[in-house]
Symmetry: C2
Subunit: 369 residues, 2 copies
Amino acid sequence: MRRLMPVVGVIGGGQLARMMIPAAVALGVEIRVLAEAADSSARLAATAVGDYRDEATVLEFARGCDVITFDHEHVPQPVLQALQAAGAAVRPGPDALLYAQDKLMMRERLSRLGVPQPDWVRAESASEVEGFLADHGGRAVVKTPRGGYDGKGVRVVSSAAEVADWLEGGAVLVEELVSFRRELAQLIARRPSGESRPWPLVETVQKGGVCAEVIAPAAHASDAVERAAAEIATSVANGLDVTGVLAVELFESSDGRVLVNELAMRPHNSGHVTIDGSVTSQFEQHLRAVLDWPLGDTSARAPWSVMINVFGELPQPAIMAALGHQPAVKVHAYGKGPRAGRKAGHVTATGDELDETVYRARAAAAHFD
Amino acid sequence: MRRLMPVVGVIGGGQLARMMIPAAVALGVEIRVLAEAADSSARLAATAVGDYRDEATVLEFARGCDVITFDHEHVPQPVLQALQAAGAAVRPGPDALLYAQDKLMMRERLSRLGVPQPDWVRAESASEVEGFLADHGGRAVVKTPRGGYDGKGVRVVSSAAEVADWLEGGAVLVEELVSFRRELAQLIARRPSGESRPWPLVETVQKGGVCAEVIAPAAHASDAVERAAAEIATSVANGLDVTGVLAVELFESSDGRVLVNELAMRPHNSGHVTIDGSVTSQFEQHLRAVLDWPLGDTSARAPWSVMINVFGELPQPAIMAALGHQPAVKVHAYGKGPRAGRKAGHVTATGDELDETVYRARAAAAHFD
């Protein structure tokens, strides 16, 4: 059969790949997933099960795909380079992904771009950490440059001894402990030919270093804050030549500055709210962006949208109870087996009043406690 | 692995089965499709390819499914009965589906229910057809009881000779040629435990007997018309014990009556507008209904939603042009190879003003002409 529509290959079979499936089905795009395991969240679209660190596995998977994109940032640079050398359209490309893989390189690169960030330093020794602590009120955030997520690889410390184990492994990133009013996230999508579109700024509420709740748009954000966030995201997307969705996690500091916390170059938890809350979801936009198709309208579909993560599991009786209790709330289950603390799904409410929308989302989510 | 979530088996691999996939992915429900061919529209979820008229094929497919539902009404009654005898939960059940399979039985059943319909008669001979014509101004609609869809099996006639071929095959349905202001469709979903929820009434615009455009809600519908449509759909759903989505195609007659034209017991073209236009789409609601889960809110997400069918094919350059021209319009492609006249996709616009929403939908659809 003549191939009429493009094939997008996604490396990684987690919930982000899973949530690309509905968007691909609607657009008529074929989606193929290289999954870690047969029972991965995105198993419906899995055409291969294997190790994303293995070059041969990844090259074999990519054959027949028009574009390769990602469920996560963990594909090693040599594998990404080999993909590109084999002629694959890798989006985002290895040179961009580097800055989502390595937090030290990200800080260095954003400093050169002139993007506002917390104070930071690269430290290879206890004395360098102590020096930074002395200059910053005796407390700081220390991060391993690679491999951290959802609060892992991050410690708030008041002495270098607390990260002695990490220093044995190499340089660490030491950051100012920002006093902030709240955390924000600015999502933007960018296509290879240059067009980019931001979504409205959202507020993220973290618990234990993990995203718990997202409120879209960020309530009472000043024009200056909204403008700063959009400018930062645009600078980073253009400056780092990001293609697809870029999520910029931000602090709104106590003194009113907007500072970059983290970057992700893929659909992001802070954007799950766009599935039900936006004209174009982050998953549809990511596919359009990596295919170099025109980007969609990112306007909100309702004055307020609130997303709450569900951890552990979503048992069927709880889903039924949540749906019965809140007929307008949307429940999203990621098709994972139960495991304590793991993101297993989310719920989204949309509405005209923030308080009432938050209430409905929490009322639905409470069925999964 | 312990099965955590129910499995819904869909017989038929067309676009209706395809559009259930995103809803199943979101709800965490496993969907399996018995497809007609390897390249069917719903191939992503196909777990079997085979003939839905073959009992052994269907029984084998149904093994391991918690609920069986349908992409079309063409599964023969003996196969449906065998499924039920084997213990499968068939939704809608054979006794309900009968009335979507046989238009004569439908008319007889709705007459007994007291639901308003066009005048009709069962005719086995030319003289019976001529008798009806004589009583109804010399013109009538004749339909074969089975197998018709999208204008096939339907003729507007002024003499019995025009359906002589059909009369050789058995009885035909002869109906009053209704003088109507417009055609409407009332969708409703009903679950086995009895709960039902209608969507707002929509207007359907047919071209050549095929749905071309849907406007939601039906503009300027009187309260009486809206109430009549909802009452008819509720009577039919309850009276025929329909489970899942029921679509009731209606005439709004020139003298203001609401009359049943056709029934479909599955998601329906007139409900595609609910994907982008409603809090709960007909595909999500169909899954919830056949699973006997609580039904979702059927409210509109915008004052107006307009859906336009695309026939033939949706070439990638045309999709890109449509998306580029209308960033807020949603394009849905059914993953079919090109074939003249066949439903290949649809576009949906939502908005605050009807005129402007129609304009944007048509502007996007025009890229596929």
